[in-house]
């Protein structure tokens, strides 16, 4: 299983700060597609961190990895 955390407006869209989903063996790109489908959020251009380290679309998730999605914001 994996803990998936959502920040900023993603959290509002999902309705929870974190969810438990099994993403073992999936790439970040695949995980984004699954979660977008499941929670109706747009994860295009959203940064992903795995265990507090930046992860690219091709990185593969292991069991127990904590995934965070951090949307870059533009306000200033």
């Amino acid at each position: 299983m994996n803990k998936v955390m959502f920040f900023a407006h993603l959290r509002d869209a999902v309705g929870e700060e974190s969810v438990s989903v099994d993403l073992t063996g999936k790439t970040i790109a695949e995980a984004k597609a699954i979660l977008s489908e499941q929670y109706g959020v747009n994860l295009d251009s959203v940064m992903a961190a795995v265990n507090e380290e930046f992860a690219s679309d091709e990185d593969v998730l292991s069991d127990g990895d904590v995934v965070a999605f951090i949307p870059p914001v533009s306000g200033g």
Binding site: A8, H9, M47, E52, E53, F54, S74, G75, G76
Partner: protein, 339 residues
């Protein structure tokens, strides 16, 4: 004013030699909104030698809630932000040089301004300008500090050419329809938190304490009591077109910029986004209605009244700003809606 910097000199990572360095450095700050007014004040008080401030907007009532250099008087006078900022900053510190520039931070202007600059501070409100800053930073090897906020959420990342990943490594392309303060709201404390992070990084870089520079991407939510630091070593992309081996600085290329055109005889400016993309017009309409704007939408376009202007947005990201022939003003209005 003797004694002015005594408490900062007493902070040992700065000290007397750091204070002298601060006084000899030049910071180019893009934007004088919430992050710009706050960072500008911290750096002016800290005694940075020269501060160039670029902004295209004027002070409005809705700025006063979080933009710390401005007063009700500035709103009544409709002063350009760069000018109002300069006025206040001079009253705070008459011993440093402040250069206000009222205008758009286009890639051309950035290339002109960047001569002799030690650091670029991002206080803009849109990713198009940030990507141009990012390319300029790589091209001229000048560090820059990304900062942004919306709602109670904010983030900061320090980009050192040749060392850290760049913004294009992280994002690959310009995000469209990012949350902006005009669509997601903003609270003053989130602004202050980003300013704290950005201005600390400025001081470290200007006093050349490179070891202290933050190498993680900080993001936080003050309302939800979250703070997270993301390690960024793995983000550096050797194939990045901005900082990689075969770099092209794509965001300095006019072909990739959003294009604005004054539509002949119609008092209207048309803006095309830098990349083809599909806007979610229904979501955007919802946000704008919550903000209190008068919005009309159909599956193909959305029309919103904004003060003297009316903006029509199409599904492909194209916008028409009616009621102006001023391209800079039109781009500002467009980017306020779409980030």
């Amino acid at each position: 004013m003797d004694d002015r910097y005594s408490r900062q000199i007493l902070f040992s990572p700065i000290g007397k030699s750091g204070q002298d360095k601060l006084g000899s450095k030049h910071v180019l700050m893009i934007g004088a909104g919430a992050l710009g007014s706050g960072n500008g004040e911290v750096l002016t008080r800290a005694g940075v030698g020269k501060l160039t401030i670029v902004d295209r907007d004027y002070v409005e009532a809705s700025n006063l809630q979080r933009q710390q250099l401005y007063t009700e008087e500035d709103v009544r006078e409709k002063l350009p932000k760069a000018i109002a900022a300069e006025k206040r900053l001079r009253a705070i510190n008459s011993e440093i040089e402040i250069v206000p520039i009222v205008g758009d931070a286009s890639p051309d202007i950035l290339e002109e301004l960047v001569v002799d600059v030690d650091l670029i501070l991002d206080a803009t409100d849109n990713f198009e300008t940030r990507m141009a800053i990012n390319d300029i930073s790589q091209k001229y090897k000048i560090p820059w500090i990304y900062g942004a906020c919306v709602g109670s959420f904010g983030m900061s990342f320090t980009i050192i050419p040749g060392k850290t990943p760049c913004l294009n490594c992280l994002l690959k392309r310009i995000p469209i329809q990012g949350m902006t303060c005009d669509t997601g709201g903003i609270i003053g404390p989130a602004v202050q938190m980003v300013i704290a992070h950005q201005s600390a990084e400025v001081l470290k870089i200007l006093v050349e304490d490179w070891e202290a520079v933050r190498d993680s991407f900080a993001s936080f939510d003050l309302w939800r009591n979250q703070y997270t630091s993301m390690k960024m070593g793995k983000a550096k992309d050797p194939g990045c077109l901005s900082c990689g081996d075969l770099r092209e600085y794509p965001y300095l290329d006019k072909e990739n910029l959003s294009r604005s055109t004054v539509l002949c005889g119609r008092d209207t400016v048309q803006i095309r986004p830098p990349r083809q993309s599909e806007l979610n017009l229904a979501d955007l309409a919802d946000q704008l209605v919550r903000l209190g704007y008068v919005v009309k939408a159909n599956p193909y376009l959305l029309s919103v009244e904004m003060d003297e202007q009316r903006v029509v947005l199409f599904k492909d990201g194209r916008g028409l700003v009616h009621g102006t022939k001023d391209m800079s003003q039109a781009r500002s209005i467009y980017q306020r809606l779409l980030g």
